[in-house]
Amino acid sequence: MSPHHALHDPIFLAYVRIIFVALAGGGIVLGILHWGLKKELGAIWSTYWSWLVLAPIGMAVIFAGRVPTIIGVTLLAAFGFKEFARASGLYRDWWMTGTVYAGIATVGAASLMPHPRGEEPGTGWYAFFVAVPVFAIALILLVPILRNRARGELQRMSLGIVGFVYIGWMFGHLGFLANAMNAYGYLLYVIFATELNDVAAFTFGRLFGRHPLRSEISPKKTWEGALGALAVSMVLPWLLRFSFPEFGPWQLILTGLIIGIGGQLGDLSISVIKRDIGTKDMGALIPGHGGILDRIDSLIYVAPLFLHMAGYYHELR
């Protein structure tokens, strides 16, 4: 991955067009609803405006190459964890948050560096990347021992481990995808399809939503929305098949299932955390979306599942 490659990569160029068309199409639909049919859209506009900013930033980072992509994912994970720490109150414990930040940085480093003895093909040190949680959890468990403290430490360790494994490491898989031979296809498809799945769930929910999906967790999500999004996500791999020419029908089905179901589950799992803590959003950084975690929640769930599925059937690097 590099700017030079990106300019000559048919997959990257195709996604530039696809995303442009998707944003323009979305704008036209919203415009017709707002001015043509006089519907009250409210917060949807700010959600849309934020997309207009986020999409080019994401494309620019991927265009810039492998290293910027991995650094970008690592920064998103760090700031995502920061939101989690602020929402749960863990941020007051600088030892624990510092340990988790160090773990997140290590995930980024393992994605960037090659195997020290050259025993793995290509870039990235996969064996270490998948083993980072062992070391991070060992360090997290070490913190109370070093500080000679026990009271309330189980909660802090648990929050630290969930924060690291879920937000740092699982989301970090998205960065590791930048090492794949077909990095543009995997990265762009996963991000585009996951976000489209979110938009589809919202749209189908708004149009046909009757039956709550998980009433105790997220009252606004409905079965209609989830199934509509799943249908879209099952069709999309076939429509964008050029993204992964090496995939057969079975892998296309799995891709659809991972994004269609995983996307919803990622959303719901962050909702569980928010519900238990008692906040509405994880932050207010992105107008119309909430915090960083509210935006990347589905990707956290989808990215590792997709990477391991693709890596099972094909040489990743």
Binding site: R86, A87, G89, I277, A284
Partner: protein, 242 residues
């Protein structure tokens, strides 16, 4: 099982600009680390680009709360004073910054809070409240307050009158105050210029003064302000041309 107690940050659902404007702040590791890193880079740049030199550094080596008072003619002034502190002190050092200038737009507010750790001082609307916040900071040990009593950057580099607010803050309080003189900052980066020029900058830190014996009554404020101004002027004359 007993319920876990979460204590979310107070500012979770606030927009970025509102969150940045909050004071006192609740920083986390990331801000702390970023501020330290930027401080090290700024110190390196000052040393090389401005051949920055500090005289009287030993006076800031204190674990008590104290006030730094200096002449103000450049944006360099604040970073120079911060560069004289130890890194540990940095996160408890609060340069009083004009709320109407530094806490308006997002980028400026971000720099003022994350890099400088500035205290929003409402010099035009709420001077009394702002001084009260300063007083609370000084009541706790280990805080450093940085104040430019001229109230704004001097356009011609000359020392202007000191506002009496500094006197009201210090009168009757057992708080050491260090008069400082910044030499060359105006030549390096005067008001209205976009970028600093490579000119030599010196910071001279004077011996601490204390106005605990001055009762906070009428006239004391302006007397203290005038006394501090003389002290800064004296530092300037002592070290002139060296």
């Amino acid at each position: 099982m007993k319920k876990w107690q979460y204590e979310p940050a107070q500012d979770l659902d606030q927009r970025l600009i509102e969150r940045l404007r909050n004071f006192p702040r609740e920083p986390d590791m990331l801000i702390y680390g970023l501020r330290s890193l930027v401080a090290l880079i700024i110190r390196g740049l000052l040393r090389t680009y401005c051949r920055f030199e500090i005289i009287g550094n030993e006076h800031v080596r204190s674990n008590r709360s104290f006030v730094l008072v200096a002449n103000h003619s450049s944006h360099l002034d604040t970073v120079c004073l911060l560069a004289a502190l130890r890194l540990r002190q940095l996160h408890r050092a609060f340069p009083a910054a004009a709320a109407d200038y530094f806490f308006k737009s997002v980028p400026r507010t971000w720099i003022a809070t994350v890099v400088v750790n500035a205290l929003p001082f409402a010099r035009q609307t709420h001077v009394r409240q702002s001084l009260a916040i300063c007083g609370e900071l000084l009541a706790n040990a280990g805080n450093v307050l940085i104040i430019f009593p001229e109230g704004t950057r001097s356009a011609n580099g000359e020392l202007q009158e000191f506002k009496s607010g500094i006197g009201a803050l210090l009168a009757g309080r057992d708080i050491p105050v260090l008069p400082c003189f910044l030499d060359g900052a105006w030549r390096a980066w005067p008001k209205g210029k976009r970028l600093p020029r490579p000119r030599k900058v010196r910071l001279i830190i004077g011996a601490p003064r204390n106005y605990a014996a001055m009762p906070p009554e009428k006239g004391a404020s302006s007397a203290i302000a005038a006394d501090l101004r003389d002290a800064v002027k004296q530092l300037a004359e002592q070290h002139a041309g060296r």
